[in-house]
């Protein structure tokens, strides 16, 4: 077992939430990702023991969903939308400029471990197309240049928490909706924002 006591305790707490152990699989994979930044084979072995299914069954689920990363990502996972609304609003320019800036092809991570680039299907921000996400925190109404500014900022400042509202204010444009509620909870890693997993944090 390569998980420490604390993590195992957290895992057991999660398993208790479900009527059947194997139902906890999805959340446990997120927990594994919050630990390593990706789903390691070690984590798969631990999870298979915890929920009582075979390792390959866990692997099967973890490789099916693209948000469970099979390899370590950089500190910032940049996901640019390539679906139809964004494409119409020139996301291809955003994609090519971000790629030029980072020097990365799709699903690649740079040598410093700073950026991972991916072009993804709809991220649910069609009203503010073109849009992209940094560690799943969304920025809408982008232009190619703004996207580069954003990447530049990430590269220079390297913030530990990225917050959607902040990035939107500094680099974004038109937004789909304005909920008028400030959300200063940001992402601390590429694991999607689950408070129970401590992958989100309010910015001080």
């Amino acid at each position: 077992m390569s998980w420490d006591e604390k993590l195992l305790k957290q895992a057991k707490k999660i398993i208790k939430l479900y009527p059947q152990k194997r139902s906890a699989l999805g959340t446990l994979l997120h927990l594994a990702q919050s630990k390593d930044g990706y789903i390691s084979d070690d984590s798969i072995s631990v999870i298979s023991d915890l929920v009582g299914i075979t390792e390959v069954q866990v692997k099967s689920v973890s490789t099916f969903y693209s948000m469970y990363k099979q390899e370590p990502t950089g500190k910032y996972l940049i996901s640019v939308c390539k679906s139809i609304s964004c494409e119409i609003n020139n996301s291809s320019e955003v994609i090519s400029k971000v790629q030029d800036f980072t020097g990365l092809n799709n699903n690649e991570t740079d040598e410093d471990g700073l950026f991972t680039f991916e072009a993804v299907e709809c991220i649910g921000a069609c009203g503010g197309a073109p849009a992209m996400q940094v560690n799943y925190e969304t920025v809408e109404g982008l232009t190619g240049d703004n996207a580069i500014n954003l990447c530049n900022w990430l590269k220079e400042k390297q913030p530990d928490i990225v917050v959607a509202d902040d990035m939107q204010k500094d680099f974004g444009g038109v937004k789909s909706f304005d909920w008028a509620i400030t959300d200063n909870t940001g992402a601390t890693s590429n694991a999607p924002g689950f408070q129970t997993l401590k992958t989100t944090k309010a910015k001080k």
């Binding site: 798969i44 299914i53 390792e55 390959v56």
Partner: protein, 770 residues
């Protein structure tokens, strides 16, 4: 509510049972719908879309997959419309996009559903000009199974089989979309006892076995239906040969027995037939050297011994003979019956069992219809793997499973109630605490119970098994399946009288009561729990005649070794399984050299010695086999060969087992057998020899601590016997009890009534010093 529904398929009215799937209902009425993923014995999944048909709905005609659509009354179906044809062409065009079309080098070509259905329903040409998906060509997913992912059409038959049927899902879909592949977890090979079934049900050439790969083309194969004689399950099999060499065994769907499945041992333990090391000429031991002799000389020498009426003859028969062989020995025994003779069957676990009028015997199908199954026997997965599948199937349907004994490691995983070391003592007795059994009263009292009961280890007393059965019989409506697991042992029950096991052999046989011993198809010195005692007995006998396929440890001690043909594929005859179901054994390949059948040898000897003999053919012996069965459905060849009887005929019979009482002795060890071992046939079957060569013991954590074992290896020392084995921790074992699989090489050479020292492995210690 009516149980039948009426459908109209392609304009024809058909009737079917109401809970069926459309594809099944059509199949039953002779209307074939093409399919890849649907399999009669697996849950429907709707992966391949090949079985699309049109049905009429309130919204007009609609394409639906017939494998996931249940039939309803008045359903109107078209399986041949233009729309359906177009859909089938489309599906096949898609399936072939990434299929490599390497039929010329593919083992499946000629019997490939993808190939056949592409010819029958395909578009004839492809519009796909892009690069196909590429994977590394076959990868080994286990020692005996190869996977070619390029050929895979993602039907999920193999993954569903391993999940639903065998319960060891070690292969699964990895990745998604265009990248989807079947694979194992890294460093976790597809080590299943049932992996060969996935090769058989694969509708393309993606899964192949190392055993059959590149050996033959389907159109060159000769085939016949026979019965597997590996264990007392008696699975129906199809034998395939080419150029007089046995090449493959397939499972045949016998609804009441194996339902199409086989264990890997049954499927691949035929390769020894083609071994170069087989005995081909009769041999005689002269000054401890074997020299080839003419069989006529053997007959005349043995005749002289037999004709001396004072000669005392005994038999030690293996459990893998055909019924007719047993009959031949019975007839021989009758013709020389001046002294009392016994038939010793090569089974360490033989005991009286529960037969006769007081006990209702169960059939395998009773497992599904009972309320609870109680098991107190050898580990079924190791000894009768396909019976394990049937138990598993019943449990999946909701039958409660109650398992007794730390000896049942694999069944404990699926049991509803497991009585392990807390209830079953180290000496294999159920601790007489009635309150413990209260737990299962709800499951058994007044219910229909199928009890699979037999001895699990030679040290176990006969009483311990009987006690549980008495408890069940007095509290519930219990049917019993006597768990004798060895080969055609029920055939021996049906044909022989005065049967004893190896334990009685050790107690009874000596130079005083035996001048001539026939050992037929048995290697007790190499395999038995009583190996050492049997060895010293045989060494002290005047004349020992061994009839076998290979030379082995027992044959080496004999005066004569006669090469015989194998019951698997080289003999005609019949086989009787655990529910007294007799089915046909058929011959497909000739046996090599001067080999004879066991019955041919013994009848020839009778004729040579001038003994009275009126059964000179296989048919004569077969007709005599079942003298005690008076029904019209006697399992003689004439009856067995009727098409309606291919699955076998059941005739329950009360055997004359004559073992002495075995009292419990203190058990220092628990000896059992694993599925794969080191018997002489397994050693000469390449695939199996890879699986059964590892030597190991199972121990409790207690023993690991006590002997300070750390390296994963340990030495076992007793006198001048020393062997290095790896150890596995088995939490089911009581403290201080070591499990030793005695069918692995040399592990039966210890004296299990005395202590064996367990030491940390010396080799590893030396490494630690360095």
């Amino acid at each position: 509510m009516s149980d039948k529904v009426n459908l109209n398929v392609n304009g024809i009215d058909i009737q079917s049972d109401s809970n069926k799937l459309l594809i099944e209902a059509c199949e039953d009425s002779g209307i074939h719908i093409p399919r890849f993923c649907w399999h009669k014995r697996l849950d429907p999944v709707g992966m391949c879309r090949m079985c699309l048909v049109e049905i009429e709905t309130p919204r007009g005609k609609m394409l639906v997959p017939s494998c996931t659509t249940e039939i309803t009354d008045e359903m109107v179906v078209d399986t041949e419309s233009d729309v359906v044809k177009k859909a089938q062409e489309g599906v096949l065009e898609f399936l072939l996009i990434n299929h490599p079309l390497d039929c010329p080098i593919c083992d499946k070509a000629g019997e490939c559903p993808l190939q056949d259905q592409t010819m029958a329903y395909g578009p004839g040409e492809s519009r796909f000009v892009e690069e196909k998906r590429h994977f590394e060509k076959p990868i080994n997913i286990s020692e005996i199974i190869l996977l070619d992912r390029e050929r895979c059409i993602l039907c999920a038959r193999c993954t569903r089989f391993s999940d639903e049927i065998s319960g060891d899902p070690l292969i699964e879909f990895i990745q998604r979309g265009n990248k989807t592949e079947v694979n194992t977890f890294p460093n976790e090979p597809f080590k299943s006892y049932f992996s060969g079934n996935t090769v058989q049900i694969c509708p393309v050439g993606a899964l192949t076995s190392t055993s059959y790969r590149f050996k033959a083309r389907p159109w060159d194969l000769k085939s016949t239906r026979s019965t597997c004689n590996g264990c007392s399950m008696g699975c129906s099999i199809e034998l395939n040969s080419s150029q007089n060499k046995m090449l493959r065994i397939l499972g045949v769907d016998n609804d009441s027995v194996n339902q199409g499945w086989l264990c890997d041992k049954g499927r691949y333990n035929f390769e020894y037939l083609n071994s170069e090391k087989r005995l081909k000429t009769p041999q005689k031991s002269i000054n401890n050297n074997f020299v080839d002799v003419e069989i006529q000389d053997v007959y005349s020498e043995l005749s002289e011994i037999i004709q001396d009426r004072k000669t005392k003859v005994n038999f030690l028969l293996g459990s893998n003979l055909a019924n007719e062989d047993y009959v031949a020995f019975r007839e021989f025994s009758k013709s020389i019956s001046d002294t009392e003779q016994s038939f010793y069957i090569n089974d360490d676990l033989l005991y009286q069992g529960h037969f006769g009028q007081d006990n209702e015997l169960a059939k395998i199908d009773d497992l599904n219809s009972s309320d609870a199954i109680v098991v107190w026997a050898e580990d079924l997965k190791e000894k009768m793997p396909v019976l394990y599948l049937r138990v598993r199937q019943a449990v999946k349907k909701g039958v409660k499973l109650i398992v007794f004994g730390h000896t049942n490691k694999t069944l404990s995983d699926i049991a509803d109630v497991f009585y392990g070391k807390e209830t079953v003592s180290k000496n294999f007795e159920i601790i007489k605490d009635v309150s413990k059994l209260n737990e299962i009263k709800n499951y058994v009292i007044g219910k229909n119970v199928t009890a699979i009961i037999g001895k699990s280890t030679p040290q176990q007393s006969d009483d311990s098994v009987t006690e549980l059965f008495e408890f069940l019989r007095s509290n519930s409506n219990t049917k019993i399946l006597n768990a004798y697991t060895k080969g055609n042992i029920y055939g021996a029950f049906q044909t022989l009288e005065n049967i004893k096991g190896t334990r009685d052999f050790v107690e009874n046989i000596s130079g005083e009561n035996t001048d001539l011993l026939f050992i037929v198809g048995a290697d007790p010195v190499g395999r038995s729990f009583y190996s050492n005692q049997i060895k010293s007995i045989i060494e002290n006998l005047d004349t020992v005649v061994s009839l076998d396929i290979f030379n082995h440890e027992t044959a080496e001690l004999s005066n004569f070794v006669i090469p015989v043909s194998s019951t698997l594929g080289e003999k005609e005859g019949s086989f009787t399984n655990i529910e007294f179901r007799t089915s046909r054994i058929d011959k497909l390949v000739p046996s090599p050299g001067q080999t004879v059948s066991d019955w041919e040898f013994i009848t020839s000897l009778m004729n040579f010695a001038g003994l009275s003999n009126d059964s000179n053919s296989l048919e004569d012996l077969n007709n005599k086999a079942f003298v005690n069965i008076e029904t019209s459905s006697k399992p003689v060849f004439d009856n067995l060969d009727k098409p309606s009887n291919l699955d076998g005929i059941i005739n329950v019979y009360e055997p004359a087992i004559n073992t002495s009482e075995n009292n419990s002795t203190e058990a220092l060890f628990y000896t059992g057998e694993k599925l794969y071992g080191d018997s002489v046939t397994e050693r000469h079957s390449e695939s199996i020899s890879l699986l059964g060569s590892k030597k190991f013991i199972e121990v409790s954590q207690d023993i690991v601590d006590k002997f300070n074992l750390t390296s994963g290896q340990c030495s076992m020392v007793q006198g001048d016997i020393e062997t290095t084995v790896s150890y596995i921790i088995n939490d089911n074992l009581p403290n201080d009890l070591i499990y030793i699989p005695i069918n692995r090489r040399d592990l039966n050479k210890f004296d299990f009534s005395k202590e064996i020292k367990v030491l940390p492995s010396r080799v590893k210690e030396a490494l630690n010093v360095n």
